[in-house]
Subunit: 309 residues, 2 copies
């Protein structure tokens, strides 16, 4: 399989058991997320927030945050509140994106979407609640050992990653591009740099901010994150097509059906795969100065491009 071949290209990852690492971190995140939101009166809103927040997933975003903090000399404890916050923000964006007024999706990860269970009104409020709580959680739960200016820097980065200069802006251009077959590579890059890469970048960068890295290292982390963010999206686009080809008898993939311009539609599948691989190599090269400590982030980068779902 391609996945195995690609892994062998990066010697550092050979001795690193990524699967065990991801499983362990995922469990830590699940415990922290479960504890983050207790159910009190009015129960409905907390249950709705928990329904989507605890709906599973690979927890790539919080794991990236924890891994970066550890690589740069910090601890899991320092980064866990921020790791939970990025998952709250990610979850909020999924709840609102799934609404009838937006993408109108009934299912996500095989489960009914939030508004199908709780109604549109509660789903909108659950998103708002998660968003507000993400910032409160970072501000109140980050250990006192982390200097307050770093925590404030994290708040600012999360706000930017989420707002009109990030996720929200990307979603707006995506909505405006729907059904248009002639959107440019520039527009496509804007959408994904904002919809997908901005939050992934914030995860990585905030991990570094919490441990107090230099401006130079912060730049390296930023370039690492931007590269894996774009690769992540290219692979998403490819999977939308290849998953369809395997499922014969079904209608074409979601992007194809929506006449969406994607990287494979611009470059073809093979060229897209090569570009994704190049982005991952470039991302990993940014981390060379961190030596062996970078093995987790490098392995995660390769995992992103080699994943099958």
């Amino acid at each position: 399989m391609v996945a195995t071949d690609k892994f062998k290209k990066t010697p550092q990852t050979d001795k690193f058991n990524l699967s065990a690492y991801l499983k362990e971190r995922q469990q830590l995140c699940e415990i922290a997320l479960d504890r983050s939101i207790p159910v009190v009166y009015p129960e409905t809103i907390y249950e709705s927030m928990r329904y989507s927040l605890l709906a599973g997933g690979k927890r790539v975003r919080p794991i990236l945050c924890l891994a970066t903090c550890e690589m740069t000399g910090g601890t899991i404890e320092m980064a866990m509140p921020t790791a939970c916050a990025v998952e709250m923000i990610h979850t909020m964006s999924l709840i609102h994106d799934d609404l009838p007024a937006m993408d109108n999706d009934d299912y996500r990860r095989g489960k009914l979407t939030n508004h199908k269970i709780y109604g549109e009104d509660i789903a909108i409020l659950a998103g708002d609640g998660l968003l507000a709580y993400a910032f409160e959680f970072v501000a109140t739960q980050t250990p006192q050992s982390v200097p307050r200016d770093r925590v404030l820097h994290v708040v600012a980065r999360l706000g930017r990653a989420l707002g009109a200069a990030g996720l929200v802006g990307g979603q707006v251009v995506d909505l405006q591009s729907e059904g248009k077959a002639d959107i440019s590579l520039e527009t496509l890059n804007f959408i994904h740099n904002h919809k997908t890469a901005a939050l992934l970048e914030a995860c990585v960068v905030c991990g570094g901010i919490l441990s107090g890295v230099s401006a130079e290292d912060l730049q390296k982390l930023t370039r690492y994150a931007q590269n894996i963010g774009l690769a992540f999206q290219i692979i998403d686009d490819i999977l939308d097509i290849t998953a369809t080809q395997e499922e014969l008898g079904k209608t074409a993939g979601k992007d194809l059906k929506a006449q969406k311009v994607t990287y494979p539609s611009l470059w073809g599948i093979d060229e897209s795969r090569i570009k994704a691989q190049q982005l991952i190599e470039a991302a990993c090269a940014e981390l060379d100065s961190f030596g062996d400590k970078a093995q987790a982030l490098k392995a995660i980068a390769h995992f992103i491009v080699n994943r099958s779902n």
Copy 2:
């Protein structure tokens, strides 16, 4: 008129020109809010955020924040980013409340609501964008002269005021109480303590946090704010009825039409007005130790109970 009589009860406010004070502060807030969000690509989302943020209003919330910061020894400059943030949060809650899935309102302050102009999808995103930006704005724009732990404390308070333990929680109980004629005073208090008072309290308390008040003074500010918050809502309920009585030939007030339990429906109008006045007196008494410096906040408290819209 009642308004004039009530004013004379508080000697400090006689020599204080509240009308000029509010006008001046309102203008400062308008300028700061206008500057806070520039229009860049993708323009639609910034225009949508600005449409609702700059739609006028008395700017009571930001003015409360500025006034508290000044009363407790701080400056307007220290509090202005937080003042703008509370107005962004307030605006976001109005945009989402007006959505078809929530209260389904077409007009607010005589203007079409956000989703009637920009569509539901953009309106949801404009709310999300304002919310994210509120936190980013406080974190990045508060002058460096304010210690970072205070700014972080403000972030935490704003998050709590907005989330499931504040505004969002109040809105959920309000939605669940619709059409029920038998809701208790306890439930009614919960709705308003969360939907209205929580953010008003945050405005006042954050103004004090920024100037670094003692824990004891913070308690006084909290009680002042809780009292004016409840009085504010009682007066809102009364105005919904009296405005209707003056406009003969029209159907009953919005609350009455929606069979909402309100303070006047529980206590009657006269008793409600007395309770509101008592709350304002109690609020002002909390500020006695601040001497003459408290005249603006005391005058604002009386303004809230004597307003006609």
